[in-house]
Symmetry: none
Subunit: 416 residues, 2 copies
C-alpha cells in the first residue's frame, strides 16, 4: 500500500511555518500500520498542484492532500482537483448549509466569499467539517488499472486533525493490508538521556530489526519509543510487553506515563485518585504550570487556582511572604520558595501548595544568582520540600524545565 | 530559477521527527532571494531516491538533497547519486583524511564503517565538513539543454546548517539571477479571514504574478503574507509598501503587528511605552494569558502578577467577587467578569486589570451557557469594558481564542 501526503502552501516553502501537519499525519498513518512513501509540499500554484497529483498517482494508491480549501483567492485545491479529474466545480447545497450554520451559531453573518467553499468537484463525496467551514473531500477512482483514493482536508491544524482522525483514517484503514507496526512510548521525568540509557544496562542485546528502542529527549523529559514489527497484533504486543517489563525493572521510578500522557495529566489523575486539591504560587514560570494543569479537562476538580506573584509586592501582600526574609535572602531563595508554597496552600485552602521562583533570563542574573537559578517547593500537611535547580540561559526552556521539575515533585510525593 | 529540496529519511515519513531542516532551508533560500518550488521527503530506499532525482530534474535547476550520508547501512544517498548519474563510487583520499582527523582530535579510533563516507560519486566535488564526518557534495551538469546543479549535505541539523550557510548558499547565489523575493507579514486580531478579505474590497485587482497576498488564519488571528518578486530590492519594497498602505487604509484597526511580532509582545511594548502596569484574573484561561505575557523578556516591568481563580471560592476570597452576584448571574457572566477585572486591578495595585471567565469545555456546559461561552473584561481608571465571546467545543482552542480576544482588547484600549 503506497501513500503520498501532499501539503499545499507557499508559507511552508519559504520556511515561515514548519510542516507539523505532515509529521502528525506520518505518525498517525504509521500507528495505523500504513506506510507513507513520500511527502511533498508545493506552493499555491494551480499547475504545480495538478502536476503533483499526476506524479503522485503514477504509484500511490492513497493521496492525502492538505491545505488550500479556505475561502480566499489563494485557496485553489478544489479547482486543482476539478481540473485534474476533468470535472466541473458544482454548488453543494449541504456543504453550503454547514458553512452558513457555523456563522449563525456564532451569531455572525456569513461573508459572501465563503460560498466558494461549497463549490465541490463533481462526483466527490463531501465530508462535513464540524470544526470549521472547509469541508473535507473524498474520491475513489480507477487509474493505471488500480483502485485509488484521494482525500482533501483543510490545512488549519485542528481541523486537519479532526477530519483525518475521525473520517479519513478509518476510510484508509478499511483499504489496507495486515502487517502490524506497533509502537509504545514510555515517558520519563527527572533523569537525562545518557543516565537513563546507562541504567538500562545491556538493553541493546534484546533489540533487533523487529524490535527497536529510541530515546527522544525534550523539555527535561525523555520519551522512550518502543517499536515492534510483527505479522500479527498478539506477537507485536507480546514483544513490546517484554521489553517494557525489562525497562520498568531498571528505571521504573522515573516513568510517569505512556503514549499521549502528559506529566500534568498524570499529576491531575493522581490528585483526583487521592482526593487532594492543589494551588500554586508562580513567579518565574509566570502561569506556565497553571496553564498546563488547566489544559486538562475537568481540572477544576483538583485545581482551585493560583497566584502569579511576579512582583515582590504581590509575594508579600497576597502570599504572606515575609518582607524581612525577602530582603535578607532575595526572591530566588529556599526561604521564599517555601513561604510561597505555604502561602498558596493557606490562601487558596488546598491540601497541596507548590511554588516556583527563579531567574528565567535572559536578563536579570547576578554573579551570585545567575540566569537559570531556580527554587521550587512542594508543601502539604507534613511540611515543605524545596529544591534548587540550575538550568539554562533560555527563558522559555527554563519555564518548561521548571514546570517539569515541580510537577514531577508532586507526582513523587503522591506515589511515595 | 527553480529549486527543489529533497530530504531523505524514514524517521520523517513516520512522523518521529518534524522536518525542521526543510523549514530552515526554505527560510534561508527565501532570504537569499531563491524560491523553493517543491519540498519532497522520501524514505531510505534506493529506487525512491533515484526516481525523485529524475522527477526533480525535469524542471529544477538546483536540487539540494539532505540526509543519508552517514556511515550506516541505511545511508544510501551516495549510492543513489552514483546510480542516477551512471558513475562509480570512488575512494577519496582527502575525504578519508578528514574523517580520520575528526576521530583523532577526539582521542578515538575510527570505526571501520566510517570509511564508506569517503566513497564519493566520480566527478563530484567534495566539500569538507569541519563539524562532522559526512562531507558535502557538489556537482554541475547539463540536462534537457540547461545547466543544473546538485548539492548533498548531511541531515544532522547543525552539520546541515553549517554546510548550507557557508558552502552551498554562496554557490547557489553565484548561479542565480538578480531577482528579489521580498515578503512582509501583516498580523491581525479580532476579525475572521473572510470578513477581512471582504473589507479589503477589490484588492485582487492590484495583485499579479509578481505581487501576491495570502491569508493565514490560526488561533483567532489572521496573518496576511505579502510577496513581491521584482528585479531589485527598491522595486520590491515599493510594491510591498503600496500594497501595505492600501491594506492599512481598509483594515488598519485590526492590524497589531508585523512579521515575528506576537500579540502579547505588542501589548507588552504598548504598556511599557505608556508606563502602565497590568494584572490579570483568569478563570477559564487558567494561566494561559499570564504565561503568554511572561514569555516576553523583561515583562516584570509591566506585569505585576495575577490571580488564577478557578474555584468560585477563590473568586470571592481573593478577588472580592460578590457572593450574591455569583449566585444570581453565575460565574460566566458580565457582572462576574467585571468584578474579577476590578478585583485584580485593586488587589495587585495596577493601572489595568483584565479577566476571563467561561466554559472552556468539553464538559461543564448547560443549555443556557453552552461550552464556548466566555466573558472577558478590561478595567482601568475610566471604568470597565466587558465582552461576550461565543467560541468552540475545543478546550485548548478556546483558551487560545480567549487569550487573543482579551489581549486585543488591551491593545485597542491603549491605542484609542
Amino acid at each position: 500500500m503506497n501513500v503520498e501526503v501532499i501539503t499545499i502552501g507557499d508559507e511552508i516553502l519559504i520556511g515561515q511555518i514548519i510542516n507539523t501537519n505532515a509529521a502528525w499525519i506520518g505518525e498517525q498513518m504509521n500507528l495505523a500500520g500504513i506506510s507513507v512513501k513520500r511527502m511533498v509540499t508545493t506552493g499555491d500554484v494551480l499547475e504545480d498542484i495538478i502536476h503533483q497529483l499526476d506524479e503522485a498517482f503514477r504509484d500511490a494508491e492513497f493521496v492525502l492532500i492538505t491545505g488550500g480549501l479556505g475561502p480566499t483567492h489563494d485557496d485553489i485545491t478544489r479547482k486543482a482537483l476539478a481540473r485534474f479529474f476533468g470535472v466541473d466545480l458544482v454548488f453543494d447545497e449541504e456543504a453550503f448549509r454547514n458553512i452558513r450554520a457555523r456563522f449563525v451559531a456564532r451569531g455572525r453573518n456569513m461573508p459572501a466569499n465563503n460560498r466558494i467553499q461549497a463549490m465541490i468537484p463533481e462526483g466527490f463525496e463531501v465530508i462535513a467539517n464540524p470544526v470549521g467551514t472547509a469541508a473535507g473531500l473524498w474520491y475513489t477512482f480507477e487509474r493505471h488499472s488500480k483502485t485509488r483514493f484521494i482525500a482533501a482536508v483543510p490545512g488549519v491544524p485542528h481541523e486537519m486533525r479532526y477530519l483525518v482522525e475521525k473520517e479519513i483514517l478509518p476510510r484508509f484503514k478499511a483499504n489496507t493490508g495486515t502487517q502490524v507496526n506497533m509502537h509504545r512510548t514510555i515517558r520519563t521525568a527527572g533523569i537525562g538521556e545518557s543516565h537513563l540509557s546507562q541504567l538500562l544496562g545491556a538493553y541493546e542485546d534484546v533489540l533487533n530489526d523487529n524490535l527497536k528502542l529510541a530515546f527522544l529527549p525534550s523539555d527535561g523529559q525523555v520519551r522512550m519509543r518502543l517499536t515492534s514489527i510483527m505479522p500479527d497484533q498478539d506477537k507485536a504486543k507480546m514483544a513490546l510487553d517484554r521489553l517494557e517489563a525489562y525497562i520498568r525493572k531498571q528505571v521504573g521510578v522515573y516513568i510517569y506515563g505512556y503514549d499521549d500522557d502528559t506529566l500534568a495529566g498524570v499529576v491531575g489523575a493522581l490528585l483526583r485518585e487521592n482526593g487532594k486539591t492543589i494551588s500554586i504560587a508562580e513567579s518565574c514560570t509566570g502561569g506556565h504550570v497553571a496553564n498546563e494543569l488547566t489544559n486538562i479537562s475537568g481540572s477544576s476538580e483538583f485545581f482551585k487556582g493560583g497566584i502569579i506573584a511576579y512582583a515582590n509586592t504581590v509575594k508579600t501582600s497576597l502570599l504572606g511572604v515575609d518582607d524581612e526574609v525577602l530582603k535578607r535572602d532575595g526572591a530566588v531563595s529556599r526561604a521564599v520558595a517555601e513561604q510561597m508554597a505555604l502561602g498558596a496552600r493557606k490562601q487558596l485552602k488546598t491540601d497541596i501548595g507548590i511554588s516556583t521562583t527563579g531567574i528565567a533570563g535572559p536578563t536579570g542574573g547576578t554573579p551570585e544568582k545567575p540566569v537559570g537559578n531556580v527554587w521550587i517547593c512542594y508543601a502539604d500537611q507534613d511540611g515543605v520540600k524545596a529544591k534548587k535547580l540550575i538550568l539554562t540561559n533560555d527563558r522559555l526552556l527554563n519555564k518548561k524545565l521548571t514546570n517539569t521539575s515541580v510537577l514531577n515533585q508532586v507526582r513523587l510525593s503522591l506515589i511515595s
